[in-house]
Structures are given as C-alpha cells and as structure tokens.
Symmetry: C2
Subunit: 203 residues, 2 copies
DNA sequence: ATATAGTTTAACTATTTGGTTAACAAAATT
DNA sequence: AATTTTGTTAACCAAATAGTTAAACTATAT
C-alpha cells in the first residue's frame, strides 16, 4: 500500500529527526545521523522535507503543538485556580518524563531564533493568557488570594515547573545529588510546588 | 611591548569567543566568525588556544566563574535568610543585564554535555549548599519558616530568578507583551519574587 | 504483461569548516 | 649588531556536510 508506506517513512523520519534535533539542536544535528536513526538513505530526507531547515521546522512545530496543551492547562482550563495549579504541577512532571528534551528544545531554539515566535503565534491553539487574567482578578476581588499580577503569577508557575528540568545538570551539581536522589526531589515537587505557590498567594 | 601585546590579543580572542559561543553555542559557533570579531587571522586562534574545543572550554570556565559568585550569594552568605533572598533577587536582574546570554549558555552547554559538570565541581569556588541547609533548618527550628527541604527552597529561588530570562522569548509570547512591557515585568520581579518566596515560607 | 507513478538508493558535488604550514614581522636576548 | 624567540598572516588541506542526480526498484492501475 502506497499511502501507508509513505506515511510510515515520513513518520519514521520525523521521529528520528525529533530525537536528534531535540538532543543536539539545529546547529548540532546532522542529516546523516537522522537518516541513520530512521534507517533510510540521506537522500530520502530531502525527498520528503527538502532541506534541513524545513525538516527542523516540522520538528519544531510538532514539538510546540505538544507543549501548548500543557500550558493551556494553566491558562484555559475551567477548573478552580488552586485546583488547576495543583493539576498542572502534577501533570507536568509526567509530561516531561515522556518528552525529556522537549521543553528545553523549544526554549533553546526560540532563544537562538526569537523571530520564530511569530510563526507559532499565528498558529491555532497558541495559548492565550486572557482567561487566566480574569480568573486571577476574580480571585483577588473575592478575597481568595492576595493581589498579584496575573502575568507574574503565571511566570512563577511556569518557572517553578519547567526550570528544574532545564537546569537539571546544574541543579544536580549544586544540591550535590546523584540522578536518583534528584529524581526523588522532582517527584516530590509534583505536590510541593503547588503548595508552595498556593501558600504564597492565598489569604 | 611583547607582554602587553600578547595579553591584548589573547583577551580580545576570549572576549570575541565569549560573544559568539554564548549566542550560538559550541555547535553553532564558527572559528572564522570569532576571528573576524577579534579582528585577527583565524590561525591566531589556534596559536593561542589550539582547538575550538579548548577555546570553548576557556570561555565556559570563565562564564561559570562569573555565575558561581552569584549563586554563592544565596548559598554562602552570612546574612539572614529573608534578607539574602531579597538581596539575591535584586542583584540577579542586574547581573543578567550585564551578561544577558551567560546563564542560558552555561545551562545549555551543560545539558548537551552533562559530563562537563565534573570539570566544574573539582574547581575552587564551586558553590556548596551545606551552609544554606543549616540556615534553613535553623529557621525551621526557630519557628521562623514552615518546614521545607533546603534543596526544594533553593531550587525554587533559582527557578524563579533564572527562568524568566531563559524563557524570555516564550514567556513574552505567552503573556502577549513586547520587549518593553516584559522588561517592566522583570524589573518588578526584583522585589516581587523575594516577597513571593518569603510569603510562602514564613509563619 | 506492461506502463506509470511513487519510493529508495549509490554515487556525486559544492561548500563549509577546523586545523596546518611556511613565510614573514616584531621583539627580546645575546 | 646578530641571533633567537614570539606573534601574525596568507595560502592551503582534509574532513565533514547539506544537498543533487540519475538510475533502480516497487507497487498498483490499465
């Protein structure tokens, strides 16, 4: 079957490219290495994706389309503010275990190529903070939480959840732990981080 | 004067290499570009630093030796716990303005090369968390702060301070702000972050 | 069976890139 | 002043790398 075969190869390439690009970045990745990992001839990469740049963009968009729903769990979910902070924090660890290099990859490539943001912004499902802002100001008005800018709270939530993974090699060294102990720390954060945040803002 | 001329060239190379490596990473940097920026012949790079790898290591160590004292402001400073959280948070923003690419560079290259940590650990001035751990358990025993693992608190402090810079392109897009507004947010964090942390842990 | 359209590969090309060499220039040493 | 040492450059080299081509192969439709 033509269709299936094509889709398989195309998907195999994307899977292989994801792994290589996410571990080594655009500059560090080699087309040959991607071809090897996908077990195909290098020319096929170009047959399906034309160039390294286009293959990279396919990988990048695919990566972001996995990350966006995670972020939307904080920004565009109907549940109660405290509840969603708890849920997001718990979920995020599992998400990163499934896609260890993904958040770092997205952030890193955005740093090297900030104009890339434009391409993402225009796409559907790009997270919007508006709903979250309303929810925060509601909670403040109702006297549930102390006054805080929604943006600051959002940045805090994201920072506390994402950075421990991105900074893992550095943090592991600083707290003087091996991988195993550090993983326990991360595991504890599933609940610790949410309580840390809620403690800070609740009245 | 031989000595002065040599030191100038060597320093010029290091300055140029810092800029290029920190913006483009090890894989993305080009020796020719470094030479151009330092306004010298490419062969001189090899004359002074032998190889790209060694030049990179010189830059990396130099970068880390700037970052380490910052981290030590949290870990090995004599002042009161709340006081040092406030001071660190305020200082850190100024530090990053002076060295915008530095923290991201260090973290990024550690991620691509985790065994690099060993090289740093053995060096003098590598921050140690021991003193901070004592300080935290003292504060807990004295009923000043709620029980919390020192490692978790440390990770929180670092995350809240470093991530908003590393994730800047992503966060800017998510909170839907331009550079100017986002800078104001960062400026506010000089005090906001410390209060956020202290609010969470104080009794 | 055979033409057709899509898929895959081996071999090749052009360019980039880290690194070297040999000659030259400038200081330092004698 | 002559010689040695150090600093600098232009030209070069070999390996790596993204991308191309043309031919072979495969499956399907006619």
């Amino acid at each position: 079957m033509d269709k299936i075969k094509t889709e398989n190869t195309e998907t195999e390439i994307l899977i292989a490219a994801k792994e290589i690009f996410q571990q080594k970045g655009m500059a560090g990745a080699r087309m040959q290495e991607i071809a090897d990992k996908a077990k195909i001839n290098k020319a096929l990469l170009h047959y399906y994706y034309r160039s390294k740049q286009l293959l990279f963009e396919a990988v990048f968009k695919s990566a972001f389309s996995l990350l966006a729903p995670q972020l939307n769990k904080v920004l565009n979910d109907d549940s109660d503010l405290f509840e969603k902070i708890r849920k997001f924090t718990e979920n995020y660890v599992s998400f990163v275990i499934k896609h260890p290099y993904l958040p770092n990859f997205v952030i890193q490539e955005l740093n090297k190529n900030p104009e890339f943001v434009q391409k993402l912004r225009s796409e559907k499902n790009f997270p919007s903070i508006e709903k979250f802002k309303l929810q925060v100001s509601d909670a403040i008005n109702q006297g549930i939480i102390k006054p805080i800018e929604a943006e600051q709270l959002f940045i805090n939530i994201i920072s506390l959840n994402i950075f421990p993974f991105i900074g893992e090699p550095l943090l592991m060294a600083l707290v003087n732990m091996d991988k195993e102990s550090y993983n326990k720390i991360l595991e504890n954060r599933k609940t610790e981080v949410a309580e840390f945040i809620i403690n800070s803002i609740k009245i």
